[in-house]
């Protein structure tokens, strides 16, 4: 890795950390929301669906600004969190929050599709055999949607790696703190002679994105074949 400068390595490491935590922390919510949208009929279901998809259709800078208004030091949620000692504004945790929210719709869509593919009759069969709702989910639904969950998580990770607009709006571009890979590329391009470093990061970005996509396809196929029992 000695062909990368220390600032570039720092940006790469930060991006991996931000994306990892963004994916991991949103996964349980993603599964829950996907399950609710796929299986439950409740008032406000369409509103929830719209809210989940909002980051996908809003300009990222708008999402970032809304995050700043909400989770900023003066924002209602930010102030509450601040009272218990958690500050996300201008920290890497804030970058993870922005990346997680931007990746959330992709994750939910992938998981929801796989839940809708599970025959509810199998879940009924589990119930008649003595499994409670939670056990049916753990022993029937979850194993069967694992391909979708994995694909959704990898896709979300890739999206988080590339998140720029909302991140830079919400937590700015502080080297070592909030300067992720895309922010670093942007920063290098702003200074004379930074093109070489920017190019190196661009190549890394392409490799990670393509790798994630291929991995997600591969894992999805493998897991689907395992579930189908072939």
């Amino acid at each position: 890795m000695d062909w990368l400068g220390p600032a570039e390595i720092e940006a790469l490491k930060l991006s991996l950390r931000v994306s990892f935590w963004a994916t991991l922390a949103t996964l349980p919510f993603g599964i829950f929301v996907a399950y609710a949208l796929a299986r439950w009929r409740f008032p406000g279901r369409q509103v929830l669906n719209g809210l989940v998809h909002l980051p996908l259709i809003l300009p990222p800078v708008v999402t970032g600004y809304l995050l700043l208004l909400t989770f900023g030091i003066q924002g209602p949620v930010g102030r509450l969190l601040g009272e218990i000692g958690i500050v996300v504004a201008f920290r890497w945790t804030g970058a993870a929050l922005a990346a997680g929210i931007m990746a959330f719709p992709l994750m939910v869509r992938a998981i929801r599709l796989s839940i809708e593919a599970v025959d509810p009759k199998l879940e009924q069969a589990g119930a008649t055999l003595g499994a409670s709702r939670a056990m049916v989910f753990a022993t029937v639904t979850l194993p069967m949607i694992l391909p979708g969950v994995t694909a959704g998580a990898i896709l979300a990770f890739a999206k988080a790696m590339g998140e720029f607009g909302a991140t830079i709006t919400f937590v700015s571009n502080i080297p070592g703190q909030t300067q992720t890979l895309p922010s670093a590329v942007y920063a290098f391009l702003q200074v004379p002679g930074g093109e070489a470093a920017a190019t190196r990061l661009v190549i890394i970005s392409i490799i990670i994105a393509m790798g994630a996509l291929l991995l997600s396809e591969y894992v999805g196929r493998r897991a689907a074949a395992r579930v189908a029992g072939t």
Partner: protein, 366 residues
Amino acid sequence: MSLSVQLQHRLPGIDLDLSFDAPPGVTVLFGRSGSGKTTIVNAVAGLLRPEAGRVAVNDWVLFDIERHQWLPPHKRRLGYIFQEGRLFPHLNVRQNLAYGRWFAPKNARRENPDKVIEMLGVGHLLDRRPARLSGGEKQRVAIGRALLASPRLILADEPLAALDDARKAEILPYFERLRDEVSVPILYVTHAAAEVARLATSVVALQDGKVVRQGPAADVLADPSVAPAGVRAIGAVLKVRVLAHHDDGLTELDANGARLFLPRISHDIGEDLRIRIPAQEVILSKTPPQGLSALNVLSGTVDSIRSGDGPGAIVSVKTPAGIVLARVTRRSVNALGLEAGAPCHAVIKTVALAPQDVGGRIISNE
């Protein structure tokens, strides 16, 4: 163990309002599709909440809508055998079989897995996934999975309907073993008269959500006013014993002294069987028939004649072998001068004794 069911529920196109008690053994819910059979089973299983009613196994109440009692499905301790098997595709056969057993209370685990695996002949399939099983194998595993949950009640919703005739013939004996070797009551849904004749201890005939008749299989199947699956389903059930297998491809049966022949069956000599004789395959004669190609003639006296609205009538003939039913026209009844007590001969075409109507062993106390 007995099951008591009371149910009221409205579905589009059908108004369910019924009650029945199921004695130990196999109780068959018999009726054409749309008569409410599956709704009843789903309500017993807790997959559907009826508008009113009560279901109890002995004094253990599964639900009582009026008293706001409702056990969720997973607390009902059932073994539900579905039409499509519904095996878990992500688990192998061994794990599928163990699924219900795992949730059963430890002190209630009656069935020995090895014995069940042997009884169902699935020992060589244990490591396979359901996707690599044939239809018949899937259904055998489904039976085992339900049984190993150590249920207090077994439900089977047309478990053979999705199988071809050969597979049906493969699975039916396992249900007979279930009936004869397992002491759990079985509620069995079907619209196939042959399955009723072979399995039923008691039959509940359904029509448009109502019970039209309940009783032993021989009585219900013989009743033309019921005809849950059309007149073709009407038929007599006889108890017979295998006497001999002949070289010309026929098997000779003894029906309480009378002789019957049917195409070679695989059952052993000396074995007790039930056979069903569809009423439409029987013709009647006042004089002893001569010069006929049919091999089976049972002589007796007319017991009763029941006619419906159409041109047909069902004549039941008391013979030494048991009651035999014949579906004839009312015109023939008049022409032959048939009336209760009149001697007559029932002629049964050999081919009418189709192998799928041949049942397995009979419980001795029947």
